[in-house]
């Protein structure tokens, strides 16, 4: 049985089901991170003292990671634009670059975490580090999830391009929406945790 409204638009909403689905999912993600941000505000405003992020965390590494993640957002949207231009080879290059940049982000984060653990800084050390590890850890899980989906559309999932290119373009667009959301979350995490 064929899944309805994968490519064609619904008359009532003017959207296909995938687009509505991914935006509803992103709305739930906003609430998930929102709850953690609200907890952060509550704990920080209630604390008698609070350390500046740059006295504990590595700002140059985080700045580098911000540049990496923003670049990956551009390569992601360029991958989608390549499909819209029917240039599958270019799509593969951009999508590959997006996955690679996601990998670079995780490697940098691994070094950051390792350094913290080596110097005896753990989530249990203080509230600041508990929030830092929770928020960045959850964000890292999202990066991993996004990379897995992107890798699928770079590799085996790309077969759909030959049989139903419009559906494939939609799927890449939706995967891109999630990836940009991950970038968006980092845009707020970076100043909140590292610079203030």
């Amino acid at each position: 049985m064929e899944i309805p409204y994968t490519v064609e638009l619904r008359r009532d909403t003017g959207l296909n089901n995938g687009k509505i689905g991914i935006w509803l999912f992103l709305a739930s993600e906003v609430m998930l991170f929102g709850a953690l941000f609200a907890s952060y505000i509550l704990i920080r405003t209630g604390a008698p003292t609070w350390p500046r992020g740059d006295t504990i965390l590595n700002v140059p590494l985080a700045t580098f990671n911000t540049i990496v993640l923003i670049s990956s957002s551009v390569t992601m949207v360029m991958a989608w634009a390549s499909l819209m231009r029917h240039r599958f080879g270019t799509y593969r290059l951009y999508m590959g670059a997006t996955i690679l940049l996601g990998g670079v982000f995780l490697v940098v984060k691994y070094f950051e975490y390792s350094h913290k653990f080596e110097t005896g800084l753990f989530p249990s050390t203080n509230n600041f580090l508990a929030i830092y590890f929770t928020l960045t850890g959850l964000h890292m899980l999202h990066v991993m999830g996004g990379m897995a989906v992107n890798a699928y559309f770079w590799g085996p999932g790309a077969k759909l391009w030959k049989t139903n290119p419009e559906w494939f373009i939609n799927r890449v667009e939706h995967s891109g929406l999630f990836w940009h959301f991950v970038d968006l979350v980092w845009i707020f995490l970076f100043p909140t945790l590292y610079l203030l």
Partner: protein
């Protein structure tokens, strides 16, 4: 692919590159401002304003929100309302539940 469609995508690609350069510039500005060690309320305000500008650029252009359908705006509007309520809850607790006790 029609010529009009190709021109449209080319135009969008130019926008993506402009947004990318703007995001890079704003990232540098965020880090540079933090070096001034401003008082916390001012630092928080400035950092949030820059982050909101960056976030809006990503949402509007990379996520194509600038040309999205009404239903998506409605979903996001509802999410924004709940998000603000969620953030307001800790602020309300500062006054020790005055809205309950009168």
């Amino acid at each position: 692919m029609t010529t009009d469609h190709a021109v449209d995508i080319d135009k969008q690609v130019r926008i993506y590159i402009t947004v990318f350069v703007s995001l890079m510039a704003l990232t540098i500005i965020t880090v540079a401002i933090s070096r001034f060690h401003l008082p916390v309320p001012i630092a928080v305000t400035v950092a949030l304003i820059v982050a909101i500008i960056k976030g809006s650029l990503v949402a509007c252009y990379f996520m194509h929100l600038i040309s999205e359908k009404k239903l998506i705006y409605a979903v996001l509007g509802l999410t924004a309302a709940f998000f603000v309520a969620l953030l307001a809850l800790p602020v309300l607790t500062v006054h020790n539940g005055f809205w309950i006790h009168g």
